[in-house]
């Protein structure tokens, strides 16, 4: 048994071990990162064509999960005049308008949202555990399935496939760090703070590196294509809604059955509404997102328009479901 605490590794001079351990962590993480990139070879697949009957909510889902779908649906109802946002109230309130039009023209996801809203809701309720996002999960799951099938979103199978490598790296770091800690204590050395710090830091870095991106390489390329295709739409679709003009709640001319501004919100995020008559929507939901995140929600705060530039959105390690999204109202970074 003495060999366990009396061997070159156990008796290695502390600073030397830290250097050695640092190298082990570094190379283990490099290997982990390389293996992870090998799991996603979707960039070699043919890029799906942009369909003419494009669904803005599906694009919103691809970009940021159910949170983004919720934002887009709420925006659509706001634009169509079914709801309004009272930003004067503290906190802001989303409420139905007095003169409700015929809701039969709304699509099912919009009808569900309007039904959930009741008379009024605070924006933070949208992202809570019993909120709209939860209600919309039925649509989210459908989008998830379809997009996984098209290999634009990372599937649960792909995530679990990385587990053996991931856990090997975790165990290596934890095992080596833990073993040296015990050996040091056994030798009466209690100055192990740097060792503990290095072990914890190594584990945290490995955990971050091991996270599979929510959107695959193919999904990112597809999003970039969408953003290239509809780049000019984000300017032209705002034209009727710039604040200097009279507010116009009626949807502008639609084409191919898709409202241009809604499609722009789906593709680029609600940040494009800044400076329009709908900027109050952005303000209300930005606060709600911050409150929701502060309250421990699993929602990420990835920016709506970040995805093209290499989204940092990633799902939790096997948990949290669609934990990405939220959007910060188009800022370019996190909230």
């Amino acid at each position: 048994m003495e060999i366990l605490i009396d061997n070159p590794l156990a008796t290695m001079y502390g600073p030397y071990f830290l250097i050695f351990f640092g190298f082990v962590i570094f190379f283990a993480i490099i290997i982990l990162a390389l293996v992870k990139t090998q799991f996603d070879k979707t960039n070699n697949l043919p890029i799906p064509a942009i369909p003419p009957n494009i669904d803005p909510y599906e694009i919103a889902y691809l970009r940021g999960g159910t949170n983004e779908v919720a934002r887009s649906v709420v925006f659509s109802l706001l634009q169509k005049g079914f709801i309004e946002i009272d930003n004067i109230a503290t906190p802001a309130v989303v409420k139905k308008t007095f003169n409700q039009q015929d809701t039969r023209n709304l699509n099912p996801i919009e009808q569900l949202t309007l039904g959930w809203l009741g008379y009024s809701r605070e924006p933070k309720e949208f992202f809570g555990k019993t909120g709209l996002v939860e209600q919309l999960n039925v649509y989210g799951n459908s989008y998830q399935g379809r997009l996984e099938q098209q290999q634009m979103l990372t599937s649960e199978e792909d995530r679990t496939a990385l587990n053996p490598v991931k856990w090997t790296v975790y165990l290596l770091i934890l095992g080596l760090g833990g073993y040296k800690t015990l050996a040091a204590i056994a030798h009466g050395n209690y100055n192990i703070i740097f060792l503990v710090i290095l072990t914890v830091a190594g584990l945290l870095i490995a955990r971050t590196v091991a996270k599979m991106p929510r959107i695959t390489k193919l999904g990112k390329i597809y999003l970039e294509r969408l953003q290239t295709a509809f780049d000019n739409l984000k300017y032209t679709s705002q034209a009727n809604y710039i604040q200097s003009f009279r507010a116009n709640n009626a949807p502008q001319t639609t084409f191919a059955g898709v409202d241009p501004l809604l499609l722009s919100v789906g593709v680029f995020g609600s940040g494009i509404l800044a400076g329009t008559v709908f900027s109050g929507y952005n303000d209300a939901f930005k606060k709600a997102q911050q409150q929701s995140a502060a309250g421990g929600s699993s929602c990420g705060s990835g920016c709506g328009s970040c995805s093209a530039g290499g989204s940092s959105c990633s799902s939790g390690d096997g948990g949290g479901g669609s934990s990405c999204g939220g959007g910060c109202g188009g800022c370019g970074g996190g909230d």
């Binding site: 942009i50 290239t228 295709a229 739409l233 499609l263």
Partner: protein
């Protein structure tokens, strides 16, 4: 060149950046796109991405502006090389340029300038086109342009000039029906007779758009809705030729895209030789 073997592409529009979103949302109504070659030569990464995107969704035809086939000094080989590379990338059914010159003494004149209709000019075209065809194997088709003067030195009619060039170079014709109508109005000739004189079996593609009235003259501004008189020219050509494709060219005064789609629908009807009678002037 066996023009009959070229695929029928249908009705499309000249791609302009501001149409991009509308084009993608109405893909099922637009059969193909014509890109302006010059917009993608020495292109930045965004334009290259745009071209890849378009290529992935539509059949493309490239239409260049600066080959200057009528320049006595010959073809700019550097420009030809770039055009050739782009055509190879786009891989269109055919590519096109104009029966004109745009460079003189190495200077770009920024305009599609007509040449006198002489045997000497034909020799220049034949020589230049031969050089282009040596480098680019894709079929080349030539477009008729508008002009503001009839050169006194011309030895033949425009139709005879075009016919001779097409026969001697074995090229197809991109018949711009708007240009034909404008020239016929400005110089008082019958466009039907023009059609009688040109080799209609060589007409591969059409261009169409409305004309623009400037004083007593019509000009080709690409800024107006196609008028009834031009639709009549289109319809007549569609009846008499086996057209492979037609492109709406709109560059200015952009209307709502629904108006563009209406024009495409009208062109579709005419291409199918629908019995819609003669258009009446609005």
């Amino acid at each position: 060149m066996n023009l009959e073997k070229l695929a029928k592409l249908g009705i499309g529009i000249g791609f302009r950046e501001r149409f991009r979103a509308d084009i993608f949302l109405n893909q099922d109504l637009i059969d193909f796109l014509e890109i302006t070659t010059d917009h993608y030569l020495d292109a930045n990464p965004q334009k290259k991405d745009e071209l890849k995107l378009l290529k992935a969704h539509f059949p493309l035809i490239s239409h260049s502006l600066e080959l200057s086939l009528g320049s006595a000094e010959g073809i700019d080989e550097e420009y030809l090389e770039k055009v050739a590379e782009l055509v190879e990338f786009v891989n269109p059914q055919w590519f096109s340029d104009h029966i004109c010159f745009t460079k003189s003494g190495g200077v770009k004149i920024g305009h599609l300038a007509p040449v006198p209709y002489t045997k000497e000019a034909i020799k220049v075209f034949v020589r230049n086109i031969s050089k282009v065809k040596q480098r680019v194997k894709t079929p080349l088709i030539l477009e008729n342009i508008t002009y503001l003067v009839n050169f006194p030195s011309s030895e033949m009619s425009e139709a005879a000039f075009i016919k001779t060039i097409l026969d001697e170079t074995d090229c197809g014709l991109l018949l711009d029906v708007t240009n034909l109508y404008i020239n016929s109005r400005n110089f008082g000739f019958d466009w039907r007779k023009f059609l009688d004189e040109i080799p209609l079996e060589r007409v591969v593609q059409l261009h169409f758009v409305g004309s623009h009235k400037h004083g007593k003259r019509l000009i080709d501004a690409h800024a107006n809705k196609t008028e009834a008189e031009i639709w009549n020219v289109f319809a007549e050509v569609a009846k008499r030729c086996d057209i492979k494709g037609a492109i709406l060219e709109r560059d200015e005064n952009f209307p709502p895209f629904t108006e563009i789609l209406e024009e495409i629908k009208t062109a579709h009807c005419l291409m199918k030789n629908a019995n819609i009678g003669e258009f009446s002037a609005v």
